[in-house]
Amino acid sequence: MDRRPLLGRGERGFGLVGILLVLAAVALLAIFPQFVRKPYVLHMGVVLFLAIIQGQAWNVIGGYAGQYSVGHAAYFGIGAYTTMMLLELYKIPPWWGIWAAIANAMILSLLIGSITFRLRGPYFVLASISVAEIIRLAALHFKGFTRGAEGFLLSEIPPLHLFGTSIEFFTKRPFYYAALGLAAITIAVNWMVQHSKLGYYFQAIREDQDAAHSLGINLAVYKNVALAISAAFTAWAGGFYAMFVKFVDPNTVFGLDISVQIVLICIIGGIGTILGPVIGAMVLVPLSEILRNPKGLVQIGILPADSAFVSFIEARFANAHLLVYGILVVVVILFAPDGVLGVIRNTIARVRRRRAGAAAGEPAAAA
């Protein structure tokens, strides 16, 4: 199976163009809130960037190293809880708390990795799910520490003093910029990992564990490194999520739904590539956000306020927005196992081939 990245290695010349394109995209997204001030649009932007971070993070262990963890809710939840609890209980602002969250998630990942990486294939998947479930059940049970199902409600994020200005977190705008910055950093780090020796080790493990092992790659070490990187960024997303949504409880941040959604972002976009999770998030987030909160379409003026569509969606889909995830993953697995990115790439290749064929074919036909 060809899983060459669209950006970089193997398609020389695209590397620089690709980087410029990414920078242009980030710049465009950065000035975007100057023109569009609707909270709904900014909200969707934040959710989109969060999904990109989650997808990129999972991609390191699932896409490059080929270990399908369906238990990433463990790291997401640890990130969310650590950041939230440090702020609520010890008044430590999230921009410091997040580092503790990342450290916690990496320690947890080493613990989980050293247990589950002895298993392969479906057994690894089952083990990763059960570890996340153990943590969720423990978080529900040990109320003295985690407050159980009650969870934590955010009281207030203190203003951030930066370069002589103070930033207040009352509107969606600061969250939008923070999420955009985090997503850009995540993508940059992922790109570097993929193009480093480390990235090649990961891919060797994915393609053939035993062959990689016999070439001297220490499987246990490099799988754990991949998981630690992945866990760090997932915790980053989790901590940000807690500050943005302002509420954490075990069933939402440690739930199996989170783990599954993280995997689906990559699967639907295209696994093992930088662009894949970005495309996956761009497909999934708008669909599920519209189903979750159709009133936003009224707010931005696409639909009239009395639209029957809005009331229908609201009445029916409020909780069922995961339906699109389900339908998309079934369609992707059956018809496009390389994801949306794979479809795009195949189409480009087909068009090129046809053009080349037409160019070469015409004189032959004339002769």
Partner: protein, 288 residues
């Protein structure tokens, strides 16, 4: 001592139903080598089917099996023919993701139709119980256990004594060899998924008088079904039967002697331990 016996008793009763769920999953895995992550959702569909039949024509949940099981059999056969059959040779992770997707579609579709409200199916005997000595026995659970035992016995007979049953077992043992012997392995796969779905649906019908019915109820049962099947050794029907009872017992003892909120956690910890130290299952028969 009474507490201990009481929890053993209720553990075995619940475990019988778990066994039914596990057997369905293990038959599917045995024949197709596909782990069905939508197994709990099939059980959930069984619960809703029972609820519909009960509210529409007042049919007793235990009697409704005669309707629910065939309906779920057809649904399972349909799923196999249309979806699962296409990924039989795909990567295991793609098979897993496909069944996860099917599960999401099922639970969210049910949510669209019935909303996410919890529903209760109240029968005259839902909370009735009787006592033997100092032990109290929940009547609906006992009836469910007896029906489960009868179905399991029937299934053993079917798999061991009938030609079709032997063909299913042969397919599970060696798909290629079975095909060479003239067994229609495609038909066996459809049949196996149908039986697995019917068993999950039946389990759903049996627990509907005692459990809340809601669209996401399947998730926990999917996970429990894996634990049961791995404990007993993937693909082994006898193993799944024992695994089910074992999980029921562990839960009920952990609820009493550890903490009721931690009973599932104890099961998962035990599951991890088995995965690590005895990956072929407690019965320990390794299969290629």
């Amino acid at each position: 001592m009474t507490v201990f016996l009481q929890s053993v008793l209720s553990g075995v009763l619940v475990g019988g139903i778990y066994a039914l769920i596990g057997i369905g999953l293990t038959i599917i895995f045995g024949v197709m080598r596909v782990i069905n992550f939508a197994h709990g959702e099939l059980l959930m569909l069984g619960m809703y089917a029972t609820w519909i039949v009960f509210t529409a024509i007042g049919l007793d949940p235990f009697l409704s099996i005669v309707i629910v099981a065939p309906v779920l059999f057809l649904w399972g056969a349909f799923l196999q023919k249309v979806f699962i059959n296409r990924v039989l040779n795909a990567l295991p992770q793609n098979q897993i993701l496909l069944t996860i997707g099917l599960g999401l579609v099922m639970s969210n579709s049910i949510m669209l139709i019935f909303t996410s409200d919890y529903r209760i199916l109240t029968t005259s005997y839902s909370s009735s119980s009787f006592t033997i000595g100092e032990l109290s026995v929940s009547q609906p659970l006992l009836v469910a256990f007896l029906i489960t035992a009868a179905i399991t016995a029937g299934l053993y007979w079917f798999l061991l004594k009938t030609d079709t049953g032997q063909a299913i077992r042969a397919t599970a043992q060696d798909r290629d060899a079975a095909q060479l012997m003239g067994i229609n392995v495609r038909a066996m796969s459809v049949l196996a998924f149908g039986i697995g779905a019917a068993l999950a649906g039946t389990a759903g019908a049996l627990i509907s008088p005692t459990y809340y019915i809601f669209p996401q109820v399947g998730g926990t049962f999917t996970l429990k079904a894996f634990v049961i099947v791995v404990l007993g050794g993937m693909g082994s029907v006898v193993g799944a039967t024992l695994g089910g009872v074992l999980v029921g017992l562990t839960e009920s003892l952990a609820a009493v002697y550890v903490a009721s909120g931690l009973k599932e956690l104890v099961v998962f910890v035990a599951f991890l331990a088995v995965l690590l130290f005895k990956p072929a299952g407690l019965l320990g028969k390794t299969r290629a």
